[in-house]
Symmetry: C2
Subunit: 212 residues, 2 copies
């Protein structure tokens, strides 16, 4: 959401939601331009704050970047876990429920697409990010989500609906299958029909495989 100060005026004075605005603006710029290309001036403008305020809240660009990573990962993981629980808590028709889950999972409104652009930046920049920050991000983000999904798969397996030995591996397989679409070029967003086709074929492959 945009803060009370975003468009044209000059925000002044003491308010503490500046931090959220800075994290939001920095997410936008870091996701689009990457760490090195993103400039503090651009981030400050996107956040509606002055560059000096950024340095009053964070020790520097690197610390801001790590804060953005943690914040975006936590928020996205939260939303993704909600999607997982909503569709897999009570399963009546396994294939249908998995497809509905996949559709909401792959639809862009589930999580901000900026977050996934940021993930691409992290994957590219991983060698220049402190290992502790990477591990914290993995733990509070992808790994946490994956464990949640793995738990549901284990339960479904105990109910006899699935045959899973390695639940973590199965969770990874399901996630990559419902997210596997052929991009004409990176950055192109799939259409609604492409998402539907991707999810249905992915779920079908996850359930039955390709052997007759």
């Amino acid at each position: 959401m945009t803060s009370k100060n975003s468009a044209r005026g000059r925000p002044r004075g003491g308010s503490t939601d500046k931090r959220a605005a800075m994290l939001d603006g920095a997410l936008t710029v870091f996701a689009r331009d990457g760490y090195t290309r993103a400039s503090i001036d651009t981030i400050a403008e996107a956040a509606g704050v002055s560059t000096r305020t950024i340095y009053n809240h964070f020790r520097g660009k690197a610390e801001l970047f790590e804060a953005v990573i943690q914040a975006s990962a936590a928020r996205t993981a939260q939303r993704q876990i909600e999607v997982i629980d909503r569709h897999l808590r009570k399963v009546t028709d396994l294939a249908a429920d998995l497809i509905e889950f996949g559709l909401e999972w792959a639809s862009p409104n589930a999580g901000p697409s900026e977050h996934f652009a940021l993930v691409r930046q992290i994957n590219a920049e991983a060698a220049h990010i402190p290992e502790a920050a990477i591990e914290a991000w993995q733990e509070n983000g992808p790994l946490r989500v994956r464990r949640e999904l793995a738990g549901h798969l284990r339960r479904l397996s105990e109910q006899g609906l699935l045959r899973v030995t390695n639940t973590d591996r199965a969770a990874v397989h399901l996630l990559v299958l419902i997210g596997a679409w052929n991009p004409s070029y990176p950055g192109a967003e799939p259409s609604a029909e492409e998402i539907t086709e991707m999810v249905t074929t992915g779920v079908h492959a996850f359930l039955h495989g390709y052997v007759p």
Copy 2:
């Protein structure tokens, strides 16, 4: 150094393998540091040439980057297609052959790991690369490889060993399954045992799925 004269247009004064050296060095630096962070001086040092020579061969940093992308994609696609054909031309035991294919596919000696680091850089930088360059890369690289794999899957389907309706989709599914491992953090290379487990479970999921 070894002076190698090829039949291609030969320059008068110096040796022509300077260009290959520049592309190699630039690949190393671009893959590790990314486009923005990589400096021309670092690339020149890695290639064993002077910075001025780089500007005598390429109009600038951007053109060098695009040349590196095309060269690395073409070379890697060539090797990957060889791996595909070698293992899938004659299939005796489908599961065993797919596993052997996946093992060589996922082993780092198949293609230089620098190439995949470069791909991560491309995915992150895609918004700042001319669309024509992205499309050329896709066409001569990933899409070409994927079509080759899809052709084999179609043949196997016609032989009754597989049941594939959308061959391109199936190729994507196979590739993501044999490459789906849980990274503790990006950049960590999987061990030989982890690769084996990843490939075998991936092939098994591709063939049979997770439903009893």
